[in-house]
Amino acid sequence: MRFLLDDEQREFARSLDAMLTAADTVAAARAWGAGEHGPGRAVWARLADAGVFALPVPEEYEGVGPLSVETAVAFVELGRHAVPGPVVETVAAAVLLAQLAEAGEREPAKRFLPSLASGAASATLTLPQSGPLALDADAADLVLTAVDGELRLAPGHARVRRSLDPARRLAAPLPGGELLASGPAVTAAARHATAWAALATAAQSLGVGLALLDRTVAYAKQRAQFGAPIGTFQAVKHRLADVLVRLEFTRPLVFGAATTLAPGDVAAAKVSAGESAYGAARAALQLHGAIGYTAEFDLSLWLTKARALRGAWGDPGVWRERVLAARE
C-alpha cells in the first residue's frame, strides 16, 4: 500500500511541465484550431521525445508499457498546458492494437504500433462507446474505426465540424476501408481501449481544472474592484475553495483508476474529473468576468476544453450508469 507517485513519476511530471511551459502550447492550440497543424506537431514531437506516446505500448512493439499511471501523469500535464490534437485517441488506438495483438491478432500491431510509440504517427478512432465523430480526423495520420466487431482503416472523413473548444475539430470517418481485423477480439479490445480513453480524458480534465484554478487564483489576487483585490471577497474565496476541494478529491480517483484500471474506478474518475473541471471553468469564468468571456484571452482555451472534455468519450450521465453497472 503506497498510494503515492514515486520520485521518478514526479520528476516525469516536472520535466513535462517545464518542457510544455517552454513550448508555447497556447500558440500551438490556437493555430491547431485554425487548421494549421505545424506548431501542434512540433509540440507532439517534443512529447514523443519525452516518451509520452511509448507509455501505453508494450516493449514488444517498441514501447515501454503499458504504464497506465505514467500515462495519467502525462495527461494531467497535457491538460494543464492545453496541448491540442488527438492525444487521448492516439493512446486509445495504441491500446486497442496492443490488446488485439495479445488476443492473437498481431499484424495490425506490428504495422502501426512502432510508429505510434515513437510519435512518428498520430491516430484517431471511433469505437462503439465513442460518438460517431473522430477527433482531428483531418490531422491524424491514422483514422481507425472499430465498430460492429470490425477494425478498419477509414478511407477518409466527412466534413470537419467545429467544437465549442476551438482546438477540437471532429469529423465522421467514412465507412468502409481496409479491414484490419474482425470478430469478438475487436469488440473486447475496443472495450479496453475505451477504458484507457476515459482514464486519459479524466487525467486531462483534471489538468484543465488545475490550470483554471491556478489562473483564477492569480487573477483574483491582482484584479481590484471597489478598491480591493477581488480575492479578499469571501464569496470569491469560498467559490475557489470549493473548486479546490473537488479537484483534490478527483486526483485520487484519477490515480486510483490508473492503478487498478477497474471499470468502476475508471468510470468514477471520468465522472468526477468531468464535473469538477467543468465546475472549475464555471467559477473561473464568473470570477474573471467579461475578460474571461473573450476568445482572445488565453483562459478561453481551458474554459472551452473543460466543457468539451466533460462530454468527450461519454458524458457524466453515461459514466454514472457504468459506475453502478460495475457493481453488478
Binding site: 465540424r161 467545429r162 476551438p166 474592484q225 478598491g227 479578499t232 470569491v236 469564468l285 467579461a290 476568445a295
Partner: protein, 396 residues
C-alpha cells in the same frame, strides 16, 4: 387574482400570432454576431417595423402601437413561440430608448427613435472600461468641453453589438476628480461629474476593434476614442448628471425588459419535445432537469405577470430587480446545460442542434454571460442581502 386576458388582449395576441406566422423566416437566420447575420437581422427589424411590430410598447408617433406592459409580454410570448429571430436592436430599444423617454428632449426622441424602430440605426452600448467592470463609478474616459459640443477620449470595452452597429451611447467623465483603481486615490464621490452622451461609431477619432466571445463570434468590441466630437444635441439630460440617468437605465436592464418570459417558455417547450424524442426513453435520468426547466420558465412567467400587475396598479420595482437578474441568469445556463446534455456527443458542436430552433451551443455561450453583465450576480446578491433583507453593509 386572475390570469385571464381581456378580449382586447386576446385579439392583440391573435393579431401578433397571425402576423408572425406569415412573416417569420422558415429557417433560422445566420447568427446576428456575424456580418452576414447582422445584415439579415437588420432587414428583419425593417420588416417588423413596417407593420409596427418592432417596438409595440412605444407610442405610435415613434413607430409603436402604444401597447401596455401586458400586451408587450403577450407579444414577446408569441414572438418566441413562433421561433422568430433574435433582436439586433435590443440594446437601443431596451437601454437607450427608456432613457430618452425619461430624460431626452422632444427633439432627440423625434430624431433617434424612429430610426431605431426601423433598424436603420442600430445602437451599441458603451459602458464598461478596462479597469472598471462592475465598478461603474470608476470610469476614466473623458468628455472635454469644446465649441458647441464635447470631445470624447478614452477606451470603452465589452461594447455589445459595436462590431457592426452604427452608433453608441455611454458615460464619460466631464467633471473633476478622475478616479483610479485603488481605494486610496479614488475620489470620494466617483459617480459625480459623469455625462451621458451618444456618438457615431464611424466618426473621426473612433476605432472599433471587434472582440470575439468564447465561441469566437465578435459579440462585442473595444472602442478607442481620440477627441471624438459630439454636438451638444447628443448629450442626454444635464451634463454631470449621467450617473443618475444611467442608473435608471441599468435598473431597467436588470428589471422587466431584459429577458422576457416568452424566450424561456419557448426554450423549455423545445427541451420537452427533444427529451421526449430521445431514443432511450427508459432513461429518465435527465427528466428532473427537464422538469426544472419547465418549472423555472413558468415561475419566471408568473413572477413577471405579478410585476406587470404591480406596475399596472401603479407600483414600482427597485432592488427586487436583483432577484430577477440572479434567477433568469442562472436559470438560462441550467436550461442550456440540460439541452447540451440531451444532445449527447453533439453537445460540443457549434452546429450540433436540431434545426427546429436556435443553436443550443450558441445559446449556451450567450447564457454564460448572464451572471456577469449588468452587474455581476455577486453584486446582485450583495444588493439583495443589504437592501431587501436588511443585512449590514460594510464587509465583503
Amino acid at each position: 387574482m386572475d390570469l385571464e386576458f381581456t378580449p382586447e388582449e386576446a385579439e392583440f395576441r391573435q393579431r401578433a400570432r397571425d402576423w408572425l406566422a406569415a412573416h417569420v423566416p422558415p429557417r433560422p437566420l445566420p447568427s446576428l454576431e456575424t456580418a452576414e447575420g447582422f445584415t439579415a437581422h437588420r432587414a428583419w427589424e425593417r420588416e417588423l417595423a413596417a407593420d409596427r411590430w418592432s417596438v409595440v410598447s412605444w407610442p405610435e408617433e415613434y413607430g409603436g402601437q402604444g401597447a401596455d406592459i401586458v400586451k408587450w409580454l403577450v407579444f414577446e410570448e408569441e414572438y418566441y413561440a413562433a421561433g422568430a429571430p433574435g433582436r439586433v436592436s435590443q440594446n437601443g430599444i431596451n437601454l437607450l430608448a427608456p432613457t430618452l423617454f425619461d430624460f431626452g428632449t422632444e427633439e432627440q426622441r423625434a430624431r433617434v427613435l424612429p430610426a431605431m424602430a426601423t433598424g436603420e440605426v442600430i445602437w451599441a452600448q458603451a459602458w464598461s472600461e478596462p479597469e472598471s467592470g462592475s465598478d461603474l463609478a470608476s470610469l476614466r474616459s473623458t468628455a472635454r468641453r469644446t465649441d458647441g459640443g464635447w470631445l470624447l477620449s478614452g477606451q470603452k470595452t465589452w461594447s455589445s453589438r459595436a462590431a457592426f452597429a452604427d452608433r453608441a451611447f455611454g458615460l464619460f467623465r466631464s467633471g473633476p476628480g478622475e478616479p483610479h483603481g485603488t481605494a486610496a486615490d479614488r475620489p470620494a464621490k466617483p459617480h459625480h461629474g459623469l455625462t451621458y452622451l451618444m456618438f457615431p461609431l464611424d466618426a473621426d477619432g473612433v476605432t472599433v476593434r471587434p472582440v470575439g466571445r468564447l465561441d469566437g463570434k465578435p459579440a462585442f468590441a473595444e472602442l478607442f476614442l481620440d477627441d471624438v466630437f459630439v454636438p451638444d444635441e447628443d448629450v442626454i439630460g444635464e451634463p454631470g448628471q449621467g450617473w443618475r440617468i444611467a442608473m435608471s437605465t441599468t435598473g431597467n436592464e436588470r428589471g422587466l425588459t431584459l429577458r422576457s418570459p416568452g424566450r424561456f417558455l419557448a426554450a423549455a417547450d423545445r427541451l420537452v419535445r427533444q427529451w421526449r424524442a430521445r431514443t432511450d426513453t427508459a432513461d429518465t435520468a435527465l427528466r428532473d432537469r427537464v422538469a426544472d426547466a419547465v418549472i423555472g420558465a413558468r415561475a419566471y412567467e408568473l413572477f413577471t405577470w405579478a410585476n406587470a400587475s404591480r406596475f399596472t396598479a401603479g407600483g414600482t420595482i427597485g432592488a427586487e430587480s436583483s432577484l430577477n437578474k440572479v434567477f433568469w441568469s442562472e436559470y438560462d445556463i441550467a436550461l442550456h446545460e440540460t439541452a447540451l446534455d440531451l444532445l449527447g456527443p453533439d453537445g460540443e458542436l457549434l452546429d450540433g442542434s436540431p434545426a427546429d430552433g436556435p443553436d443550443w451551443t450558441e445559446g449556451y455561450v450567450f447564457s454564460l454571460a448572464g451572471p456577469i453583465y449588468a452587474g455581476t450576480n455577486e453584486i446582485q446578491r450583495d444588493i439583495i442581502a443589504e437592501r431587501l433583507l436588511g443585512l449590514p453593509k460594510g464587509r465583503r
